[in-house]
């Protein structure tokens, strides 16, 4: 029986191995054929032109800018809400807030996307449309706002857990030295939970970079190179490039290979973020163990 359990346990190893093998086996050759540099830094994505070009730099930048915007908008609110939940809010409020945020985490991304299409996009057009000469409200800004909302539950719940895990003695010490409650929380407790809060942000970034449907529904999906100050025009991310192109690609073509290669690039991004997250987590564990020993 041990053997059966053992074999089953290898399933997840096998799954990761298969995903890596197939993404890279089918993604790398086309990337080499296009030229790695041309692929990664090419500014033109014209997969079906007579002389096709496969440059995904606009999508890489699109992912980075949209995620950056989401972090700027969402992370402060998320961390402050986490502080609010861990240290500030009265019990009855907490009893409402905690399940509300876990519900928020469970809302499917297609619903967020639909909400974005129906509310955010028209609202952005209304407010900024004339001033920035927008064609429609579908824009990097819409995607960033939507993603900021979507990463809130992730950031909040992880940051809250880590702030709560800070030993109470630190707080008591600060208060005994004359700090007010707010001062003790902001100057002692939150800094002490630093790596945990950072881990929450990193996980939020991972969620934002990987999000597909909601972004595809509000970002406009143009493949033109965008500068960060063009937050009011549409763009495409790595994820939405895959979902959009898969719809009409010819299987076995170089075009298909370029899509898989886009997936491989996304995968590498995510692996990097996961690595960062686990390094931060190890840091948290180490600190906790040290405290236990001392």
């Amino acid at each position: 029986m041990r053997g059966v359990f053992f074999t089953a346990a290898l399933a997840s190893v096998l799954a990761v191995a298969l995903i890596c093998v197939f993404l890279f086996a089918q993604g790398l050759p086309p990337m080499l054929k296009i030229g790695v540099l041309d692929f990664l830094t090419g500014q033109r994505w014209r997969p079906t032109a007579a002389e096709p070009s496969f440059g995904i730099l606009p999508m890489i930048l699109g992912s980075v800018y949209i995620t950056g915007g989401a972090v700027i908008l969402g992370v402060p609110v998320g961390i402050l809400t986490a502080i609010f939940m861990a240290e500030m809010c009265p019990k009855p409020v907490y009893r409402f807030l905690k399940p509300a945020i876990s519900l928020m985490a469970g809302v499917p991304s297609v619903i967020y996307g639909f909400f974005g299409m129906m509310v955010l996009v028209p609202a952005i057009f209304e407010v900024f449309g004339k001033r920035f000469d927008m064609m429609s409200g579908n824009s990097m800004l819409a995607a960033s706002i939507l993603l900021a909302i979507m990463i809130l539950p992730t950031v909040i719940s992880i940051a809250e857990t880590n702030i709560r895990a800070v030993p109470r003695e630190l707080y008591e010490g600060a208060v005994a030295l004359g700090a007010s409650h707010e001062r003790a929380v902001f100057k002692v407790m939150v800094p002490a939970a630093r790596s945990g809060v950072l881990a929450a942000v990193v996980l939020g970034i991972g969620r934002a970079i990987g999000e597909t449907m909601a972004v595809r529904m509000v970002a406009g999906n143009q493949t033109v190179m965008r500068m960060p100050y063009e937050f009011f025009s549409g763009t495409r991310t790595l994820t939405s490039n895959i979902i959009l192109e898969m719809g009409y690609v010819e299987r076995g073509s170089l075009h298909f290979g370029a899509i898989v290669a886009t997936g491989a690039v996304l995968f590498v991004f995510i692996l990097g973020i996961n690595l960062l997250f686990s390094v931060l987590n190890q840091d948290i564990e180490k600190k906790r163990n040290k405290k236990g020993a001392g």
Partner: protein, 283 residues
């Protein structure tokens, strides 16, 4: 504890700023969530009509019934694949493997990696591997296997947690009475951990029901009652996506979104309740 201090210590201006900032952030979070949910409800509930649940789909009624059936099928078959593997993995990790061995570390790392992979990458992989290489085409079967890989880490992690929370005294008692490891696992450990495992399974269901990116190109988007595992189909979430993307049936899209939200909220509340019960039972 905090309350007394708030009353006794006078707040300085900086404290007031911090106090207000955190309250404002909490308020924004709640306001956004409530606005989203209420907006969808208000727009959708008036359009929930019997015709939306008609047995056969027509362009006039935009019935969600076939999508609902497909969703239920997807949940059933995905769990049938993922739960045995997930639970066995957790049993191996907690009950059999020596803690801290290299293999355990590898399995744990891969599980974490799986948990972080975005669903579109699963979709791409499922398309290449299940649809294309194994020749299943766009089908419910391919969708199920794709999602099974995706929810595997959820089931492994929750099962592992609940197995770990079973006190060692239970195991020792069982061994002391002469039971072997296998009997201990099936007669003592798993029954005790069942509610915790169940909570994880419910979370996985929530993920399956809400998934779109991994499914769009693995099960297709044909609206029909599935005939067999090789039929194409469309789950509720995909149905919402297609209605929204087409933009022709916004009323029905809102109504379908309400149904989807209700299902997902119901699942999450159930998971929370089961988990609470489990924590109470163990402690």
């Amino acid at each position: 504890m905090g309350k007394v201090l708030i009353l006794t210590k006078r707040k300085k201006p900086g404290d007031w700023a911090r106090f207000l900032l955190t309250w404002a952030a909490g308020f924004i979070t709640v306001a956004v969530l409530l606005y989203l949910v209420i907006f969808i409800m208000v727009k959708g509930i008036p359009h929930i009509k019997p015709s939306l649940f008609a047995f056969t789909y027509t362009p006039e009624n935009q019935s969600l019934f076939p999508a609902l059936v497909t969703t239920v099928l997807m949940v059933g078959f995905t769990l049938a694949v993922a739960v045995p593997f997930g639970v066995s993995t957790a049993v191996y990790l907690v009950e059999y493997a020596s803690r801290g061995s290299r293999l355990v570390r590898v399995i744990r790392t891969t599980t974490e990696t799986l948990a972080g992979i975005p669903s579109i990458v699963y979709g791409l992989f499922g398309y290449i591997f299940f649809c294309d290489l194994l020749g299943w085409g766009k089908s419910i079967l391919a969708g199920c296997f794709t999602l099974a890989v995706m929810v595997l880490p959820i089931i492994i992690r929750t099962t592992e947690e609940s197995l770990k929370s079973i006190p060692d005294a239970y195991r020792e008692g069982s061994f002391g009475l002469g039971a072997g490891r296998l009997r201990t696992v099936f007669r003592v450990i798993l029954p005790c951990a069942a509610p915790g495992i169940f909570a994880g399974v419910i979370l996985a269901i929530g993920r399956i029901v809400g998934e779109t990116a991994a499914l769009l190109y693995t099960i297709g988007s044909v609206i029909q009652l599935p005939e067999n595992l090789f039929s194409q189909g469309r789950t509720l979430a995909l149905h919402v996506y297609n209605l929204a993307a087409e933009g022709l049936y916004n009323d029905q899209a809102y109504a379908t979104a309400v149904v989807l939200l209700a299902v997902v909220f119901g699942i999450n509340l159930l998971a929370a309740r089961v988990e609470r019960k489990f924590i109470r039972a163990v402690s």
